[in-house]
Symmetry: C2
Subunit: 504 residues, 2 copies
């Protein structure tokens, strides 16, 4: 893996003084990585576990309200599932989450607060669609685009696409995002998979499923068979905000959709700037191992720092929250929930070229294909177009196939796919290539988000956000709107900070 | 929780000499429970994680073949998901797994080897069935019984029960148990839940699902909506052995089924006897925290003991195996598998009476009801009938409802259910009552077994048993036949011992 973390100023900062945290003593080392390092004990109002967007937003909000806060991060960097990768010439390409779009108000607001703007994703020209023997080039900005958005105008699937997306949008409107398990017919929707629902509601079910596979692989790192239909409805309902209902189109569109804009300097820069403002309150390379709580407070133990606090906000994915030791044990329903919430299987691959040469062929760089490894991809070039970057997702079943192969094998397969798909051999010769398989990341265990299989929301959903004594939960999975996205992470942090702030 | 572990002789034994394991040194304490206790380092051929039936069988087999072995157990007792509970008068009742039946050859053989026999589950008289307003008493040994086994002769469901169970049996015959994901149509079966399959294949789907709910709650601690249909087929296929195909009837029957016989002295006694024979090679109260492997061996670190070994067999449920730190990290597919394998939600409740008074009313004590908390129950009296014990399961959705309530509230509800269901107020006044909620057990996280939701077998099944370098996997979930049962645990231990033994 050639991806490296961006170094930050406060990484080199000494001491532990920000936000009033005080060094209180030394206790013996705990945890494998810290056998020989003395562990600091600090006191704070709130401990935050995880320095991704959720944890950092929580800490930023609490600090702004005058509370002491310490953020404990397992990695040697901040940003969680966002990660800038240096592609040279002063540019970065994102190895993780990167896009923002309409109704994603909170991530855009946070970016603005720390001096970071956005720019439009390149979207001029035609997308490419390959499905078996069919190859189409089409624009999402003409008449068809206004009807279908970014969805491909495959004549065999047009009627189903229009019908299914209209049906899903209308069903999603009836899902209460604060409690999807209370929706009418929630039991029925949560008893079936996206695949069985599509089979029961499509004219050309096999065709739709073949198309849905690369789309869901890119969207959530999973196959239609893996997902509860209620979860899919909630995911669509979440693609909006309090005043604008979510739609399927907003999930998959560039123009007016979730892929509309990018972050100047790369999405990880938002976390870096927030962390810089928090200074030495953010502690890196210190995985949290245990959380104990009593009537008077919590003790959060990590490899390098033990925090005595009033409350703790756990802002890591459910599968990681499950690996922390809790004393007393969490309620069984919460533990069972986290046993059920696997992370998606997602890899992002990026090929860097001297120029975005496809633009001169009137191609946007976007594609959707049933002939992976890469099912969906897009132009990820720097804003000034001084380099050409094509990014793509290898998710779900494709991730299982391609993840274990050697980087060289993957690179060869991906570039050959591009050359064939775009009918252009220039794709075979990038300046550089890198990929990032989030399933191999110890402190993410997959991406982009946790998946809900059948039965999970109806059975265990109420434990997703409910505080357990002095333990509160953040992370994009706990958001109402845009769960699974950077915007959801920020929303969850804002909610957690408000929840905790009211109790301090 | 009033359940206590049975104390064993070797618990009090000193030293660490059995099977040639040698005290090699002291290293600093690791793990929360061991801050002040020096950690022993020992050397052995094989380390085994978990002293349930799987781990103990592994160790017993390896020791018999002349290999050094050390078993590391997190609890202060052996037996895993089996647990004897003292009910007085020298008798025990099982708080966990207890039955054995035809084709469960391996657990019966192991019991015999350590001097433990079986006796028949009491099955004379009528079972009771309650479904809404309908209440039936019926025998499973007459003509109907030979047709339906223990399944209730509900006239509204008779045709469906006969049709569905015949269909499932015939489909199950085509599932290759060493690789269910390779079965014909595996993709389709693994894309749907048991609920959607039943809806598509029943005349009275809602009626069948209402009946299946308490049945699946007792069988696997889950609802029909939670389970991949492929998993259900594999579970049925596994209810047999190499010469006798599995059937649904064998899963739910007493006579000629998985509930036919009980273990003299209680099922945990098998583990206790096996552990006694292993002596001080079995180390209690020492949760394994990390496993590192290199070209030359493994280092298994637990709270009290660090083992340097050639190989390690991890014989704990997948959800617990996921909480161990591995260095290097496990392959992503294996990690993703364990993220997906939640444990069932199961509680066992037991009411102890002066006599099994229901027997004189020509009742077996067995019941199946849609009016829980207890969906399925049975006579669990000692073999000599000197006490009356009624045992029942509170699983799946019922477990979610009743688990968080107070023991007193649960007891009142369970006893009132019994009195109403059997129309006999004597059930209101037990000598004693206890329940055991396996979802609250730190070192099981649920029961009776791990659940496969849609997509898991087809996507991640191949990682279930595949060794990762020097790490091998046991546990009932990894068995071909009787996965989820004591017999599957023993089979998995035998397989793991053979696998490792061939490499030493």
């Amino acid at each position: 893996m050639s991806v490296q973390s961006t170094r930050r100023s406060f990484l080199k900062g000494g001491g532990l003084a920000a936000a009033g945290a005080a060094v209180a003593g030394l206790v013996p080392a705990r945890g494998a990585a810290a056998d020989t390092v003395p562990v600091e004990t600090v006191t704070s109002d709130v401990a935050v576990v995880g320095a991704g967007l959720a944890g950092l937003t929580t800490a930023r909000r609490l600090a702004a309200a005058g509370h002491d806060v310490v953020v404990l991060e397992a990695r040697d960097r901040v940003g969680g599932r966002t990660l800038n990768h240096d592609i040279g010439n002063g540019h970065v390409a994102e190895a993780g989450g990167e896009f923002v779009g309409p109704t994603q108000d909170r991530i855009v607001a946070l970016a603005g607060e720390v001096g970071i703007g956005t720019f439009d994703e390149y979207d001029t020209g035609n997308d490419v669609y390959v499905n078996g023997g069919l190859r189409l080039k089409y624009s999402d900005s003409g008449l068809l685009g206004s009807l279908l958005g970014t969805a491909p105008p495959d004549p065999r699937l047009l009627v189903d696409i229009a019908h299914l997306s209209q049906t899903i949008d209308s069903m999603a409107k009836k899902i209460p995002l604060d409690a999807p398990w209370t929706a009418a017919n929630a039991d029925r929707y949560d008893a079936e998979t996206l695949e069985t629902w599509v089979r029961a509601n499509s004219l050309n079910a096999n065709g739709i499923l073949a198309l849905l596979s690369p789309f869901m692989e890119a969207l959530v790192g999973a196959e239609p068979r893996d997902l509860s239909f209620l979860f899919v409805l909630a995911y669509v309902a979440g693609a909006g905000n309090a005043t604008t209902p979510g739609t399927l189109e907003r999930l998959f569109n560039v123009r007016n959709g979730a892929q509309q804009s990018r972050i100047v300097g790369g999405s990880q820069q938002i976390s870096i700037n927030v962390a810089d403002a928090l200074g030495s309150a953010v502690r890196l390379s210190t995985p949290v191992r245990s959380i104990s709580q009593s009537d008077t407070g919590v003790v959060v133990t990590s490899d390098l720092v033990t925090v005595n606090a009033q409350r703790v906000v756990v802002a890591v994915p459910p599968a990681l929250a499950a690996r922390i030791d809790y004393d007393p044990l969490l309620p069984a329903a919460r533990d069972q929930l986290t046993q059920r919430l696997a992370m998606g299987a997602l890899m992002k691959v990026e090929a860097v070229y001297p120029t975005p040469f496809w633009r001169s062929n009137k191609l946007t760089g976007q594609f959707l294909t049933t002939s992976g490894p890469v099912g969906y991809g897009f132009d990820n070039s720097p804003q000034d177009g001084s380099l050409g970057v094509l990014a793509g997702f290898v998710g779900g079943a494709q991730n299982l196939t391609w993840g274990p192969k050697s980087p060289a094998e993957r690179q060869a397969a991906v570039l050959q796919q591009y050359a064939t798909m775009f009918k252009d051999d220039r794709f075979l010769n990038p300046i550089s290539y890198f990929d990032m398989d989030w399933t191999t990341e110890q402190w993410s265990r997959g991406g982009p988000t946790a998946l809900f299989g059948p039965g999970t929301l109806v059975g265990y959903g109420p434990s997703l956000r409910a505080p357990v004594g002095r333990i509160h939960w953040a992370g994009t999975e706990t958001s109402d709107y845009w769960a699974g996205y950077m915007d959801g992470a920020v929303r969850s942090g804002e909610r957690a900070a408000a929840e905790v702030g009211a109790l301090l």
